[in-house]
Amino acid sequence: MFLVAFPFLHEWPFFRMFLSEFRTFNATMFAVWLLVLLGMNLLTGYSGQVSFGHAALVLASAYLTAVLSQQYGFPLWGAIGLSGAATALVGWVTIGIPAVRLRGPYLAIATFGLMLAFPQILKLNVLTQWTQGALGIRGGVVGPPGFLGGVLDGRAWMYYVAMSVAVAMTVLFVNLTRSRTGRAFVALRDSEVGAEQMGVDVPRYKALAFGVSSLYAGIGGGLFFAVQGFVSPDSLGLIDSIFFLVAIVIGGLGSVLGSIVAALFLTFQSEAISALAGFVPGTNNLRNVFYGASLIAVIVLFPKGIAGFFQRPLWPKLREWNLGSLWSSRS
Amino acid sequence: MLTLKDIHVSYGQAPALHGVSLEVPEGHIVTLLGANGSGKSTTIHAVAGLLPIQAGSIDFEGREIAGLSTETIVRLGICATLEGRQLFGEMTVLENLRLGAYTQGEGKGFDEQLERVLTYFPALSERLELSSYLLSGGEQQMLAIGRALMARPRLLLMDEPSLGLAPLLAQEMFAGIMSLSKAEGISVLLAEQAADLAVGISGYGYVLEVGKVVLGDTARNLLDNEEVRSAYLGH
């Protein structure tokens, strides 16, 4: 109900009092980030692989959507679907399957490299006829279909589309993680050897996790272009990939609720920090220090993962906290 | 010289030692007997400072060493050789021996000590520049013991030194340990599956069962004890 009514809320004087900053645009971006972070969480939180290049996948799909819809006349929604599928295929076949052979740090290096190199590839002169080089690609205005024309403006329409896709894919995600496949992912994260003994086809599931993760990144990327109406080589970069990681680690690895918290975090973090900087000067510049410290704190306190932390009663949790390790310094 | 009193050790939740007490008199060889998982190896690790001790005391030459770091324990004069030998495989024999003397510095005493150690293990002196993983099993065991000797220990802890050695070689090694202990005045605490050989060179022996000492006596009496013989000495 709340999600449906959202675009209209701030039209009401009552909500306008404290919702003025909650623009529909933010809520739409929340839906986009939710998709991306669900994918990221599937990869890291469920299957235990790490990617520092997820923003590059999002960016690639945004570009593909832009090129298909602006230059080849594809309908926007078709272009998004196609880009999502293409990204999934790329993630599965060209990253996921080769990645199976790579241990953690090597995969991290490869994705880190992709992330840094990709904007430069987009700017290559030979690709300019498609990518428009450093200028980026602008999208047209997307309005609602005729019969809704009087009721919704373009922004509200975009909100409904993005939010519906996000909700649908979240439901799909929940079902996936509760299925045999989802349990296989978790088994694999907890122990590859153990998973193998349980009869899980480890390489297949690791690659599959990358594929599904890329599908979410791809759909998110397509919507990113649709919502922003613009994409350039510098729309997303290394720092965004790192923020994706920060978001899911703080939100909670291996949980859908965690991804939702993560998407909220990503949507509002910059406004929240700016607001905070109004009270405590310098906070803006210290932002990355907070985030870095939080990442480390979560990992140090919950070395076995934060998954399920919020679903259990408080008392046993305290014992899980790895507080002892803060004091012992002998190796 | 070494006295363990009521030592408790556990791995996670599972207790591994509950109340082990034993004694190694100066200049003697003492063997720990027991089946797999009885706590022999754990006892060695606990004395060497490789495992945290929950309760009990370890007295070495009048000093409490329970809870000290391995580094300190080595400096006090206790060295260990472990199962699997734990050599620096990619380093040469000489580098391994140099590392053995890490706590001693590499001054004048080093060459002297190196020469002494090599007289016990002449086979090693021909292979000083060889990577240690290229040595045979027997030579690797010699190197492990030699490396421990480089630190000039007064007490040597040995976990399964005969593991993986042919019986003849094992026999030779135990003979070596005995003569070494006599000549250098080094006390030895041995944990050994091939117990008959080990007890043969020992002065004392302790029998461990599920983390407890069930019997402790002179080696002579253990060899005469029918039960011990049939359970642990294989004849």
Partner: protein
Amino acid sequence: MDLFLQQLIGGIASGSMFAILALGIVLIYRSTGTLNFAQGQMAMFSMFVAWSAMSTGMGFWPAVLLTLLSALAMGALVEWLIVRRVEGTSDLNSLIVAMGLFLIFDGLALYIWGPLPKSFGPFSFFSGGASCVGGVCIGRLNLGILVVSIVTTALLYLLFQCTRFGLALRATALNRLASRLVGIPVGRMLSTGWGLGTAVGAIAGILAAQSLGLDIRTMFFVVLFALAAAVLGGLDSPVGAVVGGLIIGVVKNLAGTYTPSSVGSIDLAVAFAVIVLVLMVRPNGIFGRPVRMRV
């Protein structure tokens, strides 16, 4: 031909800088198994320390010395305070912690020194006329970088191969349990490994700043080349890091010279391509050991 030789020499010079940054990454990787993605940002932080020291009127070399000492302490402190807590839990955890360090040093530098680039060199050692042999010249900047890199590498080699302390450092990287058995203070060695890696990174940073300037993002891309070098040489091989660095430097320069301008700049893409290629063909690099020999 002269153009080729010219670019080859330039490539070797910038490659030597990648080599020592890669060397720092390898030292840290060998000591605790952490692939330190924060290496670049930690180096950047040290560069700002050097800048601050010099802006108080300190000379270049004293400032460099001070920076190296502070980098040594900083790296050791990071290992002791943070890395040790998650060691041995999982690759995933140590990678996330490395990213946390990345953000912390990135943010601290922004907080302390602000977003504006600083002027940092080239200092007198790195500026002056070119030296020529025949038709081939090497600029003073490249010569300076090359000399500092060679000296750094040589000193590290002496430390690791010819001193007792270096022997113990290597031993700790090879086998922790055995190191404890012979009485090496393993924890202190691991901290030292991080300290050394960070100090070596700081040298690479100071060299990079001579041609690229000093900015929070200066090291972003330099790190990519260093990572490519480390992967190419083998993540656990110091020799590999040096050889890999030189190869990457040369390939980058030649690719830059011989790629038609209609294509555009491709240096980052080349580094990425090298990484992918190595991982496909020989994941352990040229000098890396495929299987650890354990005795």
